[in-house]
Symmetry: C2
Subunit: 371 residues, 2 copies
């Protein structure tokens, strides 16, 4: 079976492994079993009709005496491009708005409070090529471009926070491009934007042809449904990036991505999940599906998932089909696990601040012991 046909690891485990062993295999690979989330029939029907994978699960927390449960439903959307990459730019954008809009409608039927789309969701992921045209024409203003206005409509209509990762054109600073996520409040107001902090220059694939390292730091957005942050794509390989979002208070960190199998697939289930464990927070890893460009860059393998601070995780969405993954989180779990494991308390960050400050100096001498 070729990598672009294989549905998912989870489907194979369920299909083949004997029930006696399956519980143990799942426990070790996926952590504490999450509860399946039930959807209204109308949502299930709409997903089937519109041809996308719909999955959901519930991460539970213990009840507390002084805090009510803080339940939030997050929606992760992964999708293929709709039109060919040589269609007119505006047509491509409009087709993606329509496609993602119909998935968001199903998310709303399922009570989703915060939805996040994949990296650069309004366009083919063309940065693996070298031509600037026509790709840079997909760039929009984060504050008042077509796409932000479209997301504001969705947010108001469905009372939903929308995280919209786009290619940004920053007219105020010389028309530079950025890889940016716009966070729209459920009120419809643009809460702010946050930029990709780490830019890949992997092998022959150099995104800094298009945009540079973000300058928005590690800001966290306080929404009605919890404190969220957005760690875009390549930032997931940098543990310090996740960590600083967490230090700024993020309870949920979204990781909208675009990555292909040969590069990163075995790392995919590891990195966002490690970040959830190490930082006592929820992480939501979103990857697009399909092949994108006329260049042979490979297969975007989807497999979007949610990881919890207790080391458990949701099943992954399909590797080959559009999908909507809905996870119901009790945000109280973040502090509960923090109180149990205490990584922040035992982290010795003052020591690391000092060591790191020394380590970046040109005259840094590594601490090496020789015979």
């Amino acid at each position: 079976m070729s990598a672009s046909e294989f549905e998912s690891v989870e489907a194979s485990l369920s299909k083949y492994i004997s029930p006696g062993d399956l519980d143990e295999v799942r426990r070790i690979l996926y952590g504490k079993q999450t509860r399946k989330l039930d959807f209204p029939q109308s949502a299930t029907d709409a997903a089937a009709e519109r041809g996308f994978d719909l999955q959901g699960c519930v991460f539970e927390a213990s009840s507390e005496q002084l805090r009510l449960p803080r339940i939030v439903r997050v929606g992760l959307i992964q999708n293929k491009i709709v039109l060919p990459t040589d269609a007119p730019v505006l047509d491509q954008i409009a087709a993606l708005h329509k496609r993602v809009g119909e998935i968001v409608e199903v998310a709303a039927m399922c009570g989703v409070n915060i939805v996040c789309f994949q990296e650069a969701w309004t366009m083919p992921f063309a940065f693996c090529t070298r031509e600037r045209q026509p790709w840079t024409e997909f760039a929009e203003s984060a504050e008042d471009g077509f796409t932000t206005r479209f997301c504001q409509e969705l947010a108001k209509k469905y009372n939903m926070v929308v995280v919209s990762p786009i290619l940004e054109r920053d007219e105020i600073h010389g028309g530079t491009l950025w890889n940016t996520a716009v966070v729209v409040s459920n009120s419809g107001k643009v809460l702010g934007k946050t930029r990709k902090n780490h830019i890949p220059r992997v092998g022959d694939f150099n995104e800094s042809t298009y945009y540079m390292e973000g300058n928005t730091g590690h800001r966290v957005f306080q929404t009605q449904f919890g404190k969220i942050a957005v760690n875009i794509c390549y930032g997931r390989h940098h543990p310090l990036n996740w960590f600083m979002y967490s230090m700024n208070g993020a309870e949920i960190i979204f990781n909208p991505s675009a990555t292909v199998g040969e590069l990163s697939e075995p790392m995919w289930p590891i990195e966002a999940r490690n970040a959830a464990i190490a930082n006592h927070c929820f992480t939501c890893a979103i990857n697009r599906v399909g092949t994108v460009s006329h260049h042979e860059f490979g297969h975007f393998y989807g497999s979007s998932y949610v990881a919890a601070p207790d080391g458990s995780r949701s099943p992954g969405l399909s590797r080959i089909r559009d999908g909507l993954l809905i996870a119901e989180l009790d945000l109280n779990l973040t502090r509960q696990i923090g109180d149990q494991w205490n990584f922040k308390m035992t982290g010795r960050y003052e020591m690391y601040g000092e060591e790191l400050t020394k380590a970046v100096q040109n005259d840094f001498k590594p601490n090496i012991i020789k015979e």
Copy 2:
């Protein structure tokens, strides 16, 4: 099947999943397939006779023009205690020396260059209890205790670097206890010691009853077979800890541990592997097996493994039996993957040094954006 009877995830996958799917499942879960390492018949026979799991694999690198391959064989040993926990202390230590000695002999038959034992290998992992006696009697001098002398003999006899994690009694500083790894050169000389940097206070289980956070920083040991570091047990939950060993030049980071299923098993395959990916190095995660004390602390689940910088990993040793895992590494892979992925180059450590230094201040104000 109960958790203390289940052999391993790997065994279940091989047993049940159809060959067509198995390659894809393995690729996604374990990364690029490692080559199986062949052992001399004498070693296989000795392992069978002495009743331990013997597994091995090869991580390959590309050939380079200016560097020869840097091949090293590491051996990871996991084992149960031998005598009951109420046997005389010296008898318990002697029995463990004998048991581990006979496993090291097999490692030598297989050409191992660096061997690492599990955390506090000369004793039951008693720190989950609250009594100081008799457990503190297992503490020894790192420089010239019984166990260090035993390891020096092994090192000289087999021309092998020995990493020996013990409970240390530091007479020079008021007889304090430390959780320490002693690194013995293949010459037989004690190269140095390194202490556990992060101490668990998890739920009711507080190791700081016995010893405090280590004061030896993130030193790296230059051996004939490569630069190595030791991140003891709970330090694996702290990405900054792995990171600073890597910044000091470690090519292989050992993680001798003692951890039980209910606490950490779903995190186990994630954390050391994430560290190998994030830091472009090899990591060797070692966990003891069996139940240890008269207290109901649970089942130490073994499952020792090696992870490589390209995201691939070895199979895990048994969850229930003593074992020796041998991995042949080409250390050139570390720089090759570093040159491909460039996490150090794109890491923006100066920014993190500044942010971290601010974040530890009492008047730190998290960067939170509100509507």
